[in-house]
Amino acid sequence: MSETTVMQRLRAANPVAEVPVDAPELWQQIVTSSGDPRVEAARRRGLRGWWRSGRAHRSALLACGVLVAACGSAGVAKVTGVVDPFAIFAHDTPAQLFDASPGYESRLQPKLVAGSVRLVETFSVPRVGTVQYWTARNVKGWACSAFKLPNGEWAGTLDASSERYGFAGTVPGCHGPWITWEGPYFHYDSIWLGLAGSRPYGILYGTARTAASATEVRDLLSGATARVVQGGYFVLLIPARGRYNRIPYVHLEALDADRHVLAIAPADHITFGP
């Protein structure tokens, strides 16, 4: 059998034809969840360029007109009962927040394990304030994460609040292990916080899973450390560095109370950034 014939036979044996899929509900669920923060960053950079251009005044007048119209529409929407999908989480309890999360796994909306919602860590971000790290587990065993900002809002649920604290990330949400960095010892993801004009912080959050009890997680590259709390959770603040205020790599290790290294993760590329 020639190689050409083999390919023909293989093509003919294709067991599944590609048929069009109409999934408007999936589309709606995905696009109402938190998107890529870099798209917004790129848009802002574009706006700054636009503002400096010679057409600024003329375009600004047009933009004001659009803004007025948009505000009017928003008012009408409020009166007629249209609910902003992000606003509904603003004052919910954490359990409700996770259950109806607009985060990673909106397609399934798996239910939470009763009693799994808890505040695992409170930490302070310089010039931002005190932030709470909340977690939960859903029935599929996925981790759910959310951060309560100093003003009491949940990060990622209100555009205004996120803007105020320079937040970027994909919380709140429940996610399977493949979305975050998954290794034998660490399981983490990241968000971003920082006020304009100050040094922003990348915030790694997740779990360290070592045979012995880890008490501390350290980033070998930045030197940043964090305590490990009950359940193996940690929140590691890493100040941005470099020309673009980014954190390109982290390299985590877990230590026990005697400062013995229990586990080291491979260096990992972190894509977050303002």
């Binding site: 059998m1 067991p15 048929v19 999936l26 909106s106 493949w178 979305i179 894509t271």
Partner: protein, 172 residues
């Protein structure tokens, strides 16, 4: 932001059917869920998805999701540390005719995936190479070897089979 992001994402979402078919061909228990998962990741990482042809990125992500799913269910061994994902032998193909299925299984996982990306997903060699994270030249070599090995394997089986079975195998 959402308007422009959604516009860009719509070009990605148009490949949902490709992902469902890919996951089903690779034996996923819930191909629609795999495809939805990949699309959710694409939305979160929209800046990483190539604008000109998102298919290699989507298929690479689908492969990772499938691997993760199988890892989770204990069907794969060891961790991924330092292991070429494409080379992991964790793909379980959907039912095929036994001769072709056997011949494909006797290929290495990376060779099999190279063949199937071209034959079933209809990717060009350069797109398939991008999906596997290797150079186009390396992919062409891999594809050539895979095609040659598969042809040789099928031919050898035919020589061993009785004549009436050989005829039936040729027909199939």
């Amino acid at each position: 932001m959402r308007g422009s992001a959604e516009l860009r994402f719509s070009a990605v979402f148009a490949h949902l059917a490709l992902l469902v078919a890919y996951a089903r061909r690779r034996g996923a228990a819930d191909p629609e869920a795999i495809a939805a998962e990949v699309m959710a990741i694409a939305w979160r990482r929209l800046c990483d998805v190539p604008v000109d042809d998102p298919r290699p990125w989507l298929i690479a992500t689908a492969r990772n999701v499938l691997l993760a799913e199988r890892r989770k269910h204990g069907r794969a061994e060891a961790s991924l540390d330092g292991v070429d994902i494409a080379a992991e032998d964790v793909v379980s193909l959907i039912d095929l005719d036994p001769e072709l299925d056997g011949a494909l299984r006797r290929l290495s996982a990376s060779e099999r995936e190279a063949l199937l990306l071209v034959a079933w997903e209809d990717l060009s060699p350069s797109a398939a190479a991008a999906s596997l994270g290797i150079s186009a030249a390396a992919f062409r070599v891999r594809l050539h070897r895979a095609r040659r090995r598969l042809a040789a394997d099928l031919a050898a089986r035919r020589r061993l089979a009785p004549s009436h079975l050989a005829h039936w195998m040729e027909e199939s």
